[in-house]
């Protein structure tokens, strides 16, 4: 299908300064002998929101987690190919996954605050990474950026588990940006939330995109259309391995997709 490893570059919109935040080259991810994601070649634009869409099980999460070596925590998983971050392959033998993950943060589908106070949750990552500045300021700044500050400023010392689901998810985003990453990966960050909380997260993403590169996995077509700048559509091939079908500016993918399968999926005529 895409046997050549030529990265698909959305050509229609010129990048501000020709800059890509991260780039996959011939990337495959395996679980044991099973290839979940196959030969992905893809360049992600800096400070834009890129959405991964596709049917369930096609490997969106797997691909996303390959961008900060999160798959390594699954004993059977391993990757082949390269992921270039500022020209450096993050899978090179001398690269430290800890360094990678600090620069490429992650927000998970289900909010997963630590069983600590709200303050400690935000400060934790910065602390372990040796933050030099004023911690209270950093916590406030991060919580403000996620529009959570006003809601929690009086209960910073209370358990994060007492927050609502939407608040917990925004706390997890605040936690992620407190370590000042370069890229934030979000795996269906709003799927467990109600429509209002979802809109809040989307607004938040827009805000954050001014400073961060964001990659988001979503099942929600409207969300992808509304909130992202670029969209990548994945599909399982005959071996059940996820492959990249089409990648381009979101408007183009949703209005005039070049691939019939993309159109089928977007218009709901597809699994």
């Amino acid at each position: 299908m895409f046997a050549n490893h030529q990265p698909i570059v959305p050509a229609t919109i010129p990048a501000p300064n020709g800059e890509y935040a991260i780039e996959a080259q011939g990337l495959s991810v395996f679980y044991g002998g099973f290839r979940a994601v196959k030969d992905i070649a893809l360049k992600v634009r800096t400070r834009k929101i890129t959405a991964f869409i596709g049917p369930s099980g096609c490997g969106k999460s797997t691909l996303l987690r390959a961008f900060n070596r999160m798959n390594e925590l699954i004993p059977t998983a391993h990757a082949a190919g390269a992921v270039l971050y500022h020209g450096q392959d993050i899978y090179a033998p001398d690269v430290d996954p800890v360094e990678v993950r600090r620069r490429i943060g992650m927000v998970f589908q289900k909010a997963n605050p630590f069983p600590k106070t709200i303050y400690e949750n935000v400060a934790w990552g910065a602390t372990i990474n040796g933050y030099r500045g004023n911690m209270a300021e950093l916590v406030e700044q991060s919580l403000r950026q996620t529009a959570l500050w006003d809601e929690v400023k009086d209960k910073l010392q209370q358990s994060a588990l007492a927050l609502s689901g939407g608040q917990q998810q925004r706390l997890c985003i605040a936690r992620a940006i407190a370590v000042k990453p370069d890229i934030i990966l979000m795996d269906e960050p709003a799927s467990a939330l109600d429509p209002i909380a979802t809109l809040k997260i989307e607004e938040l993403m827009r805000e954050l995109a001014q400073n961060y590169t964001i990659i988001i996995v979503t099942h929600n077509m409207q969300q992808a259309a509304r909130a992202s700048d670029f969209t990548a559509f994945l599909l399982m091939d005959s071996d059940r391995a996820g492959t990249l079908i089409e990648y381009g500016p979101t408007r183009q993918i949703f209005t005039r997709p070049t691939d019939q399968r993309t159109e089928d999926y977007i218009t709901g005529r597809f699994g």
Binding site: D96, V98, E99, N129, G130, K180, N211, Y212
Partner: protein, 419 residues
């Protein structure tokens, strides 16, 4: 936030001092610590097995009261003599009273050659182990040992001996370490465990079924559950005291067999196999119930619903569907509980295991000793030869437990593959 905080490879570098090399060094140190602890655990097991094996084999200095060579007749060695010649040797070396006693036990004319030969060895040659050396010393200090034997025990012969032998398994307890075996102890263990299984298994499974399938959330049910958890944590010696007061003393008429006219005339008290088995049954009951509950809980709800959907009663559902599905799990749990019971010592000492039995136990009302009790008694003896016997008995016990646990693991694996 300003744009430069996250430029290429981050202006964030200025605000963070991730100090990774330092963190990595700390991490490596801790990792080593964790690994080392694990290795210490493995070493402990190795040291334990080493000690037991080291003592189960080794050199012994054997001293005979009468050298077999001096008993040879016309150049024919002792081992190849005829029955008549053995009888003659016995008559010549034993006092007339002892000789007559053996004859009346079983006439010499009816005894086999092997039997007579064994008797000559035991009563006439009388080999004694004057000193023993463990396996490792036997390998590495052989020369020193030989000179020591030549100096201290001039008449003694140095031989390599395995303390675990078929004879060790076949012979009853004896006061001489050369002849002692674990036959009575093994039989005692088996009898005791039989009683334990017969009582604990139905009651344990019954209680588990009741708690999982019938009992409804009420304070009484909660009480039973909490109570079972607590019983599982009661020290085994307390069960011994319970058994002593209830079975040995309180129900003496029943446990001694007097009520059935079956009491063993030599004891006629409650310190019997029956009391021991019942005490161990109480001891493993909580464990058994908890394991069985887990196995029953693992049976999928859909199976029960399917059965009820066809109009089966509750008991039919349990008997035909739930129990068969839970059976491997229940059996695994039972084997584990039983192996716990086999190894128990303290409660049996408390209810009064016999210190010295040479006759095979012949039923629930017999006096008892068990393998762990035997090990305990041999270990407590000061003479080193008994340490060797204890080690050999430990090997037998461990082999028994290993067999049981392996079968439990195999069962569990088969079960989990099917589930």
């Amino acid at each position: 936030m300003s744009a430069e905080t996250n430029g290429p490879l981050g202006g964030a570098e200025q605000t963070f001092d991730a100090g990774l090399p330092q963190r990595k060094r700390v991490a490596v140190a801790w990792h080593t610590l964790f690994l080392a602890s694990t290795i210490i655990g493995v070493i402990a097991l190795t040291a334990l097995l080493y000690t037991v094996i080291n003592q189960s084999f080794g050199l012994v200095a054997v001293q005979n009261r009468i050298e077999p060579a001096s008993l040879a007749v016309d150049g024919v060695p002792l081992a190849q003599l005829t029955q008549e010649q053995y009888v003659a040797i016995l008559q010549a070396n034993l006092s007339p009273g002892v000789f007559r006693r053996y004859d009346s036990e079983q006439p010499f004319t009816e005894r086999s050659r092997e039997n007579l030969y064994a008797l000559v060895l035991e009563r006439v040659v009388q080999p004694r182990y004057v000193k023993t050396w463990p396996l490792i010393a036997a390998f590495f200090d052989r020369a020193a040992i030989e000179t020591e034997v030549a100096r201290d025990f001039p008449g003694a012969k140095l031989v390599f001996r395995s303390w675990v032998t078929p004879d060790f398994l076949r012979s009853p307890q004896a006061s001489a370490p050369e002849l002692a075996g674990v036959r009575t102890a093994i039989l005692g263990s088996l009898w005791t465990i039989l009683i334990t299984i017969l009582t604990a298994l139905p009651i344990g499974v019954g209680a588990a079924i009741y708690l999982e399938e019938y009992a409804r959330a009420s304070w009484a049910t909660r009480l039973i559950r909490t109570n079972i958890t607590n019983l599982a944590g009661v020290p085994s010696i307390i069960y011994g005291m319970l058994g002593l007061a209830i079975f040995v003393r309180g129900a003496e008429a029943l446990t001694s067999g007097a009520a059935f006219g079956l009491a063993d005339p030599t004891t006629a008290n409650g310190r019997t196999i029956l009391s021991a088995g019942l005490t161990l049954a109480l001891l493993i009951l909580p464990l058994l119930i908890i394991n069985a509950q887990e196995a029953i809980r693992a049976v999928p709800r859909s199976l029960r619903q399917a059965s009820y959907g066809l109009g089966a009663t509750q008991w039919q559902t349990i008997w035909r569907h739930v129990l068969p599905s839970a059976l491997p799990g229940i059996l695994t749990g039972t084997i584990l509980a039983i192996s716990r019971a086999i190894g128990e010592t303290a409660p049996l000492v408390v209810i009064g295991a016999s210190t010295f039995i040479v006759v095979d136990p012949n039923g629930p009302f017999a006096k008892f000793t068990t393998l762990p009790i035997q090990i305990y008694q041999w270990t407590s003896r000061p003479q080193p030869q008994f340490r060797n016997l204890a080690a050999a008995a430990i090997l037998v016990l461990l082999a028994l437990l290993l067999t049981m646990n392996t079968s439990a693991v195999l069962l569990r694996n088969r079960y989990s593959r099917r589930a």
